[in-house]
Symmetry: C2
Subunit: 344 residues, 2 copies
């Protein structure tokens, strides 16, 4: 049985989750995949005295990228830089890269996939959208003989938690946000979640995979939840529905319509019951019909599980030419006749 050495960039919540999975689940991983994964080095500027990973920590990226025994790098630093430079260097050194970094993937996914393929390695990013839900794998593998014609999803757990509290407990937006912050579901500066930027980035990634062209999140009309009122929620309830922050897109040949906004969701929708910090994505293909995936969109171990499955895929599969290329895909807002169906 072969043992693979990997390096992890960043020992925060997700990075330590990946370390934990490969330590605690080593037997399961061996049994299921006939391989072993050894975390050899972890890049972090902090020290972790007493942690079982203490002696693996380095502050020097070169200790990882120049180590010929390390065949794969996990990037969980977040943010554009230095993640982008580190990933390019790792790929150029013929190490596969697995990341959960949605900003990096949204901005540079096409380029990094191209560099990976040129170097005979993988660039995989399941954990960058919807945490533990295998939505990227589903798009890549279950729709590889089909055209994706619709995507709609609840891609941000923070806003979904807030809207659920407003709906079920009648809280105001401000009270529900304070509640989410006190429970750690929302950050002290919650603007990326509240304003819809986070959900928009994830939709741009999904659309790039679905169309094969590069969707820029700045082209997607995005509206946050900060203006949602309890009376709008009550009105939705009267019409047997709820309000959710939905990332929605329709693909008609070369035309892509997309929008992120608080939307009316009727009780017949698969997204109607997706409450609290859950995420969900519905993907409709011409032949496959609609597949809906629901699960934990964030959290240490669900996200680390998604990373672990990418790591195992990268270590065992031949890389394939990426479908998502650098050519820009234009995006329009939904025409009025569509938009009125889901406007609140």
């Amino acid at each position: 049985m072969k043992t693979y050495n990997i390096g992890i960039l960043g020992f925060g919540t997700v990075g330590s989750g990946v370390f934990d999975i490969f330590s605690k689940n080593a037997d399961i991983i061996k049994e299921k995949n006939c391989l072993a994964v050894n975390v050899k080095r972890i890049l972090d500027l902090r020290k972790f005295p007493g942690s079982p990973a203490e002696n693996l920590i380095t502050t020097n990226f070169d200790d990882i990228v120049s180590d010929n025994e390390i065949s794969l790098v996990v990037e969980v630093l977040g943010g554009e830089q230095p993640a982008f430079d580190f990933c390019k260097q790792a790929l150029a050194a013929k190490k596969s890269v697995v990341t959960s970094n949605k900003e990096l993937v949204e901005k540079h996914g096409a380029e990094l996939m191209k560099i990976a393929f040129e170097n005979g390695v993988h660039f995989l990013f399941e954990a960058s959208v919807a945490g533990g839900i295998p939505v990227i794998r589903c798009l890549n593998e279950s729709f590889n003989s089909d055209s994706v014609i619709e995507i709609s999803g609840i891609l941000n757990g923070t806003t979904n938690y807030i809207l659920t509290k407003m709906t079920k407990d009648g809280q105001s937006f401000e009270d529900a946000l304070a509640d989410a912050q006190s429970l750690g579901y929302a950050e002290q500066n919650p603007s990326a979640d509240i304003e819809g930027t986070d959900a928009c980035r994830k939709l741009a990634i999904l659309l790039s995979i679905a169309t094969g062209k590069d969707v820029d999140c700045r082209d997607i009309n995005t509206k946050g939840i900060d203006a949602v009122t309890t009376s709008q929620i009550a009105k939705a309830n009267e019409k047997d529905g709820v309000i959710k922050l939905v990332a929605k897109a329709k693909i008609e040949k070369d035309n892509v319509f997309a929008q992120v906004a608080p939307m009316f969701i009727g009780k017949e929708s698969s997204l109607f019951k997706v409450d609290g910090a859950l995420n969900a994505v519905s993907i409709r293909g011409s032949a496959t019909g609609e597949i809906t995936l629901i699960g934990m969109g964030a959290g240490k171990l669900p996200t680390a599980s998604a990373i672990a499955s990418d790591i195992i895929a990268a270590l065992t599969r031949r890389p394939s030419a990426p479908f998502w290329c650098e050519q820009r895909q234009s995006v329009a807002s939904f025409p009025a006749q569509y938009a009125e169906r889901f406007s609140i």
Copy 2:
């Protein structure tokens, strides 16, 4: 770009769906996967005058298994024989096999996977459980670093359609069944669906993949829906729930508890809104939490899409040693303290 030749055993609903997908979606398949698939031969005892596949039909399996240009065989005959013999012969001839045949997979999955691996080819069967929903891929790939601890699903569209009609329209079991038969959702001899055998077989397949040992469907306590009354449904409704035919299992180390029966589903469950002919499966892992997948559990094109994605996987990936082995996994009924939570 490489073109792969395949043979199809059986030109019924699903077989002709596979043929249609590779004809109509050839451009999409090339773009997304950098390969082409050519259906070279189709085994069927019937003739199909006027069909574009007319000249591909043969009544002689040897025309497929002895054709060195054919690298993969799709088995959609259904039933144990001659499917089992044909699959063994195809694998021995170093052709990968993709099937939708749940009876074959439930009875001989472990053996066929072993033969495939020994011959350096694949035996894949995504379409054998829940049609177009990628539940087997999810179990194999998203839970490959995690222990699966619970599986529950609505795995039979016919019985779900009947129970939905009884719930929403107040129909009796007999009327709803007649309705389902007139719409083609239920067969004239509906016993395999109604008695729960079909759902039980699918649960046995999922449990075998999850545990890595061979679960025999005859070991799973199974009860059908023929005794469900409108008053039981009304009683469930009073408790804010519905009755669904659920295939449910719990895995605790080496102990597996499983049951197929009409169960009470409260409105907080991900399965509560799964109505009509839809299928759904929830899988809970220790680390990943619960992932729920919902979609079309049957139908020509959803099932053919699942087969197409298996075909592309078989043509592009290295085979890996199967986790599911021939050693028997014992199965017990749920202890009373669990069972009372979902009994109707």
